[in-house]
């Protein structure tokens, strides 16, 4: 990501994609899925940090964008059947 140059994809775009994914993760009502999306995006971005090949970077970006679309749709679908009770992990430790 630090050396993502060419085909118009820049560091700023990578950050913007990361932020969109994290924000979409925050919209999930289910604790487990929310945490998974966060973990997976961070791991995915970290794993693809050192890419230099422009085509590899472009494919990583397109994969990230498609995952973002999936996550957005699923956030809406899951919110229809939101759990009634808060997950125990979300309750503040008293």
């Amino acid at each position: 990501m630090a050396s993502a140059v060419g085909s118009g994809l820049s560091r700023a775009e990578a950050f913007s994609l990361l932020r969109s994914l994290l924000r979409t993760a925050a919209k999930f009502s289910d604790y487990n899925i929310r945490e998974y999306v966060r973990r997976r995006t961070i791991d995915g971005f970290r794993e693809n940090r050192g890419l230099t090949d422009p085509s590899a970077i472009a494919s990583a970006f397109s994969e990230g964008r498609s995952q973002l679309e999936i996550a957005k749709r699923q956030a809406v679908v899951y919110s229809i059947y939101a759990p009634q009770v808060k997950n125990i992990m979300e309750l503040n430790a008293s």
């Binding site: 560091r11 700023a12 950050f15 932020r19 994290l22 925050a26 961070i42």
Partner: protein
């Protein structure tokens, strides 16, 4: 004769029984009117958070990030230089701050936040921070 006089006098003296509620309600509304009539508590100036509270909350968010040494966190520490975090961690911390203060920071502003001091300044100048 005396009985007739007595009942006539008593009839005059007898006080008609009023329902017990009315006087009590009258009294309550009178008290309410006196208390609330002239005084209005409009305090829109207290919406902004106290600066120290912002600093405390920002530092606690930074401290609870995995991999951050608690001792190095100061009110003006730089995320990447002092705490040894990378750019991904910085984005995550900014997201955590967004959640803590219920803000939505646009990308352009979020890119500039790279130290605790700047984060505190941004949040304290944001009108929607809570």
């Amino acid at each position: 004769m005396a009985a007739g006089w007595r009942s006539a006098i008593l009839r005059q003296l007898r006080v008609p029984v009023r329902p017990a509620l009315a006087p009590a309600m009258e009294r309550r509304s009178w008290i309410g009117a006196v208390r609330w009539s002239g005084i209005r508590f409009l305090s829109s100036g207290d919406d902004h958070l106290d600066k120290q509270e912002i600093i405390d909350r920002v530092l606690s968010v930074v401290r609870s990030y995995p991999g951050v040494e608690s001792s190095k966190v100061t009110p003006d520490c730089h995320f990447q230089k002092d705490l040894g975090l990378d750019s991904l961690d910085v984005v995550e911390i900014v997201m955590a701050l967004e959640e803590e203060f219920k803000l939505e920071i646009p990308d352009k502003e979020a890119d500039k936040i790279d130290s605790c001091g700047i984060a505190v300044e941004y949040i304290s100048s944001h009108p929607m921070a809570s």
